[in-house]
């Protein structure tokens, strides 16, 4: 086993364990913290894959901004102790069965049915340099200029939407 493969297996084990921990922990605060671990391991994967900019964006936006927003809302609502409501009795086993079928099917489709002999290219020093970042920026502002501008409008709309949704109506008391 090459060191790269061992690194991959250990990191993927951490990522999957954190994902399952997010899924089964009863307290949303723990779920959010498990999700931070998951996002951080995926960021390390991005570094291994030679995408340092995406890895840093992942850390700052996902693990930083989004999860802090989640934690704020969890603590704001004080809803970490949600009483278990009435649920359909067959829903959980059915969902787990279907998810296992989906997982086996998709992994089979990738690994056995349609294998690719491509291998991960270990990033050279050039991939982590400023020049590579400059190429990404030039591409973002030339080929992808329209999607980039549309994204800025989307963020503006989301900002206005969030303000409108949480604003109290005129004269409304707390």
């Amino acid at each position: 086993m090459s060191p790269e493969l061992i690194l991959f297996l250990v990191l993927s084990l951490v990522a999957i364990a954190a994902a399952i921990g997010m899924l089964i922990s009863p307290n949303p605060v723990y779920s959010a913290l498990f999700l931070v671990i998951n996002f951080s391991t995926v960021a390390v994967f991005y570094l291994i894959l030679g995408a340092p900019f995406i890895a840093m964006a992942q850390i700052t936006i996902y693990a930083g901004a989004i999860m802090v927003l989640f934690l704020f809302v969890i603590m704001l609502l004080g809803a970490e102790k949600l009483a278990p409501g009435k649920v359909l009795p067959y829903q959980k086993p059915l969902a787990i069965g279907l998810a296992i079928v989906l997982m086996v099917e998709s992994v089979y489709a990738v690994l056995a049915r349609n294998p690719s002999d491509a291998e991960i290219i270990v990033p050279t020093e050039a991939a982590n340099s400023i020049d590579a970042m400059r190429d990404l920026g030039i591409m973002l502002f030339s080929d992808y200029l329209l999607p980039f501008e549309v994204t800025s409008i989307l963020l503006l709309v989301a900002m206005i939407g969030a303000i409108v949704l949480t604003k109290r109506a005129k004269g409304e008391q707390e």
């Binding site: 090459s2 790269e4 493969l5 991959f8 990522a15 999957i16 994902a19 997010m22 899924l23 949303p28 779920s31 959010a32 998951n38 995926v42 991005y46 894959l49 995408a51 900019f53 995406i54 992942q58 996902y62 989004i66 927003l69 989640f70 809302v73 609502l77 809803a79 949600l82 409501g85 009435k86 649920v87 829903q91 959980k92 969902a95 787990i96 998810a99 989906l102 997982m103 998709s106 992994v107 990738v110 002999d117 491509a118 291998e119 991960i120 290219i121 990404l136 591409m139 973002l140 992808y144 994204t151 989307l154 963020l155 989301a158 900002m159 939407g161 969030a162 303000i163 949704l165 949480t166």
Partner: protein, 100 residues
């Protein structure tokens, strides 16, 4: 060397765990986190293909996905807060006011 398929399989597994979270949890916040994880799994596949084909497109798409996820979370959490104000619960089973 690590084959590309391993990364794609990991992405599929993370996506499935996210889908399972949407199905079995009733807390709206956890469902939201599961959706984030599914987006993240898709991002991992994009960046993997960007690596093996040595092309920047996959990375740029992953960047856009992160931006869209941020916008989605802002609106979604505002919706959850608004629902909590009127119903005092974020259990998705309680949000059945339109049911006849």
């Amino acid at each position: 060397m690590v084959p590309q398929d391993y990364y794609i399989a990991l992405s599929a597994i993370l996506f499935t765990i996210g889908a399972l979270g949407v199905l079995i949890r009733r807390n709206a916040l956890i469902i939201f986190m599961s959706i984030e994880m599914m987006l993240n799994a898709a991002n991992l596949a994009f960046v993997t293909f960007a690596n093996t084909y040595q092309h920047l497109n996959g990375r740029i798409i992953a960047f856009f996905v992160i931006a869209v996820a941020a916008a989605e979370v802002a609106v979604g959490l505002a919706l959850i807060v608004a629902i909590f104000k009127s119903k005092h619960s974020i259990d998705v089973d309680q949000m059945s006011s339109l049911k006849g």
